[in-house]
Symmetry: C2
Subunit: 364 residues, 2 copies
């Protein structure tokens, strides 16, 4: 049995055990039910030990004694049946396709894709598995990687061994939606930089930053997909390489950093797989806007509100973030990472990043 | 001299000739000026012969006899100087970086990126070259390709020869922002399918459609980037392969098809390089929504207005489009391409596409 067959068998068993429990309940004359953590914002806590977002202790029980909850369990059993078939046939499908497939399920048809997505998250919690184990994938692929890293991807067409500098085009290696099929073979890197914008990612490649500093560059493409965050987590865990996050200097970008480092509320049940608590923020820091006199824009009302809410967010509860956010509110300015171009195309790779990496103890 | 050196020399000469003309004008005591096609919607025409959008005959002259126009020429000369330096140094930059670089140009500083983007389009028209020749790139990369195609990409790290099935991961080959660096070496394909959504692209890969029908699959990622359209144009031109466009069944998706086939208004000056007039629309057709009883949504007011405007759009001036659009208005419905999943995950590759390809004379 290959590792992927073993995984399928485990997934199959866990999915069926949900239905098996209902069967036992019915046999005993009880009303079938499921119980799981309450999935509201109020029940998400920052776990100090693992440093990621997790569900708290509140539990909800859904039992088939109301028509609404019975319908929910009916939909779940249809989905379990569909996923079971998919596992046996070694097929996969997108979350969107799953929603359309329910067209044929009469009363168990989903009314919108939000509903089927949410049910899949429920199944992830109940089985303690990622949706990739169910052979479900999101619409979007992950981002791209460029740097001294060799991976082996198990594709439907066989194994592909790819070096993320030597075997790829200028745009890099495209992270697939399911990164569990990837083996991280070896690297020759000192650290990983995860970069918000495509323009800065291309700048670092053009300037040879990956070669000069033996850096693995990962393009986040804005708010990163699950597969991108999972990839960063795995590289950090397997190789112990520092992961540095380089974004624009505004409150929305700080949230990109926070979702890489500590997880996102929407995927709180997967934080331990997706988050990289040791990830560090490089910039753009509010103090950089001041120190380098970067081209900037005035904060909007929404920016200010977002910064203020970050001041009470446990993910930003450090002296560093407190002083940076307060400075930004005082400056009333934000800057993009590409604003460094105002000081020349080499400034970011020759001056800014080496200085920050030294400050952070990554370069000596 | 390599082909890329030759291209740089030609670009250098053409850029400088703009400034040289001003110099001659000044020497003769004339006010420096540029003259170029008027860049308004009213001056864009559908060229029946080449079947793409082009600028019409109206010309505008910008001469430095008003302060505003003089400032425009000043900005253009700064940009020409910057691009010249960039060509000599073999550097490149993003459109966003160019905007930031103008920070140091005092009165010639751009007030917004729209302004610098527009000026670059002016330079494309004046030099009859693509911005790639200036070593400028957009923020976003192109989409991905999966299929029996071998390409050679000239990267900054040397040549990479990549087969778009055998040498790539499951997500395919990532099209770089500058496809002029790519040689199309060889293929073993019958046709190309350009696909709007990532979900359908992944479906065709999973179902082995590229193998069974020897198809090159190109993911458009919604409204396609210039580099993606240029790549389709080049594959069609070099190999003479049919290019088929597979999108959702709504007016916005028909515009995606039209921009692949006939060009977009914004890049009308580049249509002959970017458009593929022989591209054909596969679906989702309004008649498919009816014939296959696809899951669908009601048209919104905006959808209806867009369909009505397409009825008078020269790009849709055919009996085929007229009857399809009128049918859609009558049905008052739209469907997504992934809606085929309601009939099973194999339906699209086993039934729908083979039937359409036969109707269209691609399969016999």
């Amino acid at each position: 049995m290959t590792p992927s067959d073993e995984m399928d068998t485990k997934t199959h068993e866990r999915l069926l055990s949900i239905a098996m429990k209902w069967y036992e309940q019915i046999k005993e004359g009880a009303i079938p039910s499921i119980s799981m953590p309450t999935r509201t914002k109020q029940n998400i806590e920052f776990d100090d030990e693992s440093e990621v977002w997790k569900y708290g202790d509140r539990e909800s029980v859904r039992s088939a004694h109301t028509a609404k909850s019975a319908l929910h369990l009916l939909k779940m059993s249809y989905v379990i049946w569909f996923l079971k078939t998919q596992l046996i046939e070694k097929r996969s499908s997108t979350l969107r396709e799953l929603y359309y497939i329910s067209e044929g399920w009469k009363r168990a048809k989903f009314s919108a894709q939000d509903e089927s997505n949410f049910l899949i998250e429920d199944l992830e919690i109940l089985t303690d598995l990622q949706r990739e184990a169910f052979h479900l994938r999101p619409e979007e692929d992950g981002a791209t990687i460029f740097g001294p890293l060799r991976i082996r991807e198990m594709t439907r067409r066989g194994e592909r061994t790819i070096h993320c500098q030597d075997d790829v085009g200028e745009a890099g290696y495209q992270i697939p939606s399911n990164v569990e099929n990837i083996d991280l073979i070896e690297h020759d890197a000192n650290f990983v930089i995860a970069i918000e914008t495509g323009g800065m990612y291309a700048r670092l490649i053009e300037n040879g930053f990956d070669q000069d500093h033996r850096a693995i560059l990962v393009h986040l493409k804005g708010q990163p997909a699950r597969s991108t965050r999972r990839m960063l987590h795995r590289i950090n865990e397997k190789f112990g390489l520092p992961v540095l996050v380089f974004t624009d200097g505004d409150p929305w970008s700080y949230r990109i950093f926070a979702s890489v480092a500590y997880g996102a509320i929407k995927s709180a049940h997967m934080s331990e797989l997706l988050a990289t608590p040791r990830a560090q923020f490089i910039g753009v820091q509010p103090s950089d806007i001041r120190d380098y006199n970067l081209p900037s824009d005035t904060l909007t009302d929404k920016d200010i509100a977002a910064l203020q809410s970050e001041l009470s967010d446990p993910r930003f509860a450090s002296e560093y973030w407190k002083s940076q956010i307060e400075l930004q509110l005082k400056l009333n300015l934000k800057s993009e990472q590409q604003a460094f171009a105002a000081r020349g195309l080499d400034f970011v790779t020759q001056e800014y990043l080496p200085k920050r990496l030294t400050e952070m103890g990554i370069l000596s």
